[in-house]
């Protein structure tokens, strides 16, 4: 890098001299900052990725561009300043990751737009243009009904997990009692077991007629009701929520709660009016994670209903439903998949900053 300095410096000296031809003294003093400037660039020459530094073309300290080809120019700059090489590596990686994550969605859209029966060899463009598939999806099967079921199940599970998990998280995070650690471990152990290990007795349990439930479900069983999915899914995703909430609740200073208590708030009031509002990012993280997990779940959603939308079959049964016994409606499978992704995609767009910061502040920091 050092041997590049002289032309560069003279370059700048010339420039400044030209800019102020009448005053040679000024040109001389002008040369010092230019020199200085370059020296500074050399000392931090090897540093990549300072915050806000990665923006391409944002470098203000570029020397005057000589008359070279674009690639040659780029290469020489990269050699002078390894920063640029890192930057280009960074951009290559970013573009690669974007392509690999987004291409399947794009391709799915192409399949959905291709009219029925012409689904061969679609790569980048659809064979024909048939946006009607997105309407047909709702005509062939009541897909909106399946989506509504999924929505209700995911929302109900999230509410149950947040309320029950908050109580448990408060106890674990802020209270002292005997058997705290063994109980936390016991909660964690649940997430070790595969859903299959719960399934057989649960299936029996939900098919057993309970007298109390008869007025609600007709035959008194939970099978084919949202309860058959909400209960197991809440239980399975509860441990993670409890751990996130525990770390968040534990971080609220003792004094704030004491102040509320002195003011005359009840114990539960302190939890719901002080602790939970102050831990909003943590509650949001736990809620979003639970909602997405339940919405995406396969095992119980697949096995706990008979697949009829009126029996609370979720989204998944709808998407698999286009694969009939005699014909397979590929374009509708693709279209329904795209529609099914939209709610979680919106959730990710809205909450991505929250999810990351929530995980940073909570669950993983310990």
């Amino acid at each position: 890098m050092t041997d590049d300095t002289p032309p560069d410096r003279s370059d700048r000296a010339e420039q400044s001299a030209e800019s102020d031809p009448g005053n040679h003294d000024a040109a001389a003093t002008e040369e010092v900052p230019a020199h200085w400037h370059h020296a500074r660039r050399m000392t931090d020459g090897g540093q990549p990725a300072k915050e806000g530094d990665v923006l391409i073309g944002e470098e203000s300290d570029e020397e005057a561009v000589l008359d070279r080809g674009p690639f040659e120019r780029w290469a020489s700059k990269a050699i002078k300043n390894p920063e640029r090489a890192y930057k280009s590596m960074f951009y290559t990686a970013t573009i690669f990751f974007l392509l690999t994550t987004l291409f399947p969605f794009y391709w799915l859209l192409m399949v959905a737009l291709t009219p029925e029966g012409r689904q061969q060899d679609i790569i980048l463009t659809p064979n024909g243009f048939n946006p009607g598939a997105f309407i047909e999806v709702f005509e062939v099967l009541p897909f909106h009904w399946y989506m509504f079921n999924s929505f209700v199940i995911a929302t109900a599970s999230t509410v149950i997990v947040l309320v029950i998990g908050s109580l448990a998280g408060y106890a674990f995070g802020r209270l002292d009692f005997r058997g705290k650690l063994p109980m936390m471990l016991l909660v964690l152990v649940i997430s070790f077991f595969p859903p299959a290990a719960f399934f057989i007795p649960l299936n029996d349990l939900f098919n057993t007629s309970v007298f109390l439930l008869e007025p609600i479900t007709g035959d008194g069983t939970l099978y084919n009701t949202p309860g058959a999915m909400v209960l197991p899914l809440s239980a399975i995703f509860m441990p993670l929520a409890i751990f996130i909430l525990t770390t968040f609740y534990a971080q609220i200073p003792e004094g704030l709660e004491d102040a509320a208590r002195v003011e005359g708030t009840t114990r539960l009031g302190a939890l719901f009016r002080v602790i939970i509002p102050l831990s909003a990012p943590g509650v949001a993280t736990a809620g979003v994670l639970t909602f997405i997990a339940v919405y995406n779940e396969f095992f119980f959603s697949f096995l706990m209903t008979d697949g009829q939308p009126e029996n609370w079959a979720p989204l998944l049964e709808g998407i698999l439903g286009y694969q009939g016994q005699y014909e397979v409606l590929y374009h509708l499978m693709a279209a329904s998949s795209i529609i099914g992704v939209i709610p979680v995609a919106i959730l990710v767009v809205v909450a991505q900053e929250k999810i990351v910061s929530g995980l940073t502040a909570g669950g993983l920091k310990e």
């Binding site: 090897g46 990686a93 970013t94 990751f97 974007l98 399947p104 969605f105 391709w107 399949v111 679609i122 790569i123 309320v163 029950i164 998990g165 109580l167 448990a168 106890a171 674990f172 002292d176 109980m183 649940i190 070790f192 077991f193 595969p194 299959a196 290990a197 719960f198 399934f199 057989i200 007795p201 649960l202 209960l231 809440s234 239980a235 399975i236 409890i242 005359g264 009840t266 114990r267 919405y295 995406n296 396969f298 095992f299 998407i319 698999l320 499978m333 693709a334 998949s337 992704v341 979680v344 995609a345 959730l347 990710v348 991505q352 999810i355 990351v356 995980l359 940073t360 993983l364 310990e366």
Partner: protein, 347 residues
Amino acid sequence: MATDTDPEGGGIFGGEGETDRDRTGNAVVNWMENLSEAAYAYLLLLPATALLALIAFYPLVMTFIMSLQEDRTRGLEPLGGFVGIENYVNILTGNARLARQFMDVTMSTSFPFIEFGVPILQQALFVTLGFAVISVFFETIIGFGQAYVLDQDFRGRRWVRVAIILPWAVPIVIQGMVFFLLFQPEVGFGSDFMQWLGVFGADPLADSQDSFIIVLVADIWKSAAFMALLILAGLQSVDRSLYDVARVAGASPLQRFKMITLPLVLPALLVAMLFRTMDAMRVYGLIESTAGCTTVPSLTCLVVEAMFGGTRIYATAAAVAFMTALVIGLIISVYVFFFRDTEGGLS
């Protein structure tokens, strides 16, 4: 605190009708206010405990008891008498009445001294273990790359972040559908491409090896994003000034990665890997919605097929389910054992 204050006393103390205690001065609230800290904690844990006991612990115990009973394929009762660990022995020796075996390995006299009764990709244990190890390996590397990119500051980061995290939020059935369609010979170009490379055979979705690769790719596509999310959370909690110090000391980017980033992110990375391994060991939905359980039999597949396959071998199904849990438990202990010294590691 004034937990022992008489609720009626509120009126005497300057007549503050504003406080909760006065407004909700009912018996339940009073009782709750007077509990000791431990008793209050147990009360708060009651709903969670009740739900988990009914939905998680009770089924686990029942599954275990079932697994010790005899299969009865005829008659009204599906379960026979107590047979001890016979079901487990049958499963481990490859003699269970399953469509696909859990494992079917016999000792042999010649090299390599182990013989597979059926091809290795038809044995659930090895399919699942192989799937878990390979997928978690690639997901960790790719996830780290993605997290590293997302940790930088650049214009449009918000949208790049959304795009890279998006696969994580995709429902399993849709993930399966995407890759089913991509490799479905009639629709997708994936199979043609792989056949052109000479990797895939004539009908990939019916071939164990080809389907295994498809399921792997599908899983890596979705779960690398999950890894990236957790690793990103770890990266963001790294103190930035450490990098400035390293820079002043003249550390190269690679050194900075090895000396600062990796050690500080390791706890988050290990937690992420542990979660992913547990998840990968339970793989079912992805297989069911792409290649199907007959082509790629995972452990959970065995349980479901034994239950719904029409053969009514519930006890064997229960035993397989419990064996799966045991295998996962073993893997977790390996993680905990090897990384117990990691600072702030697996809590």
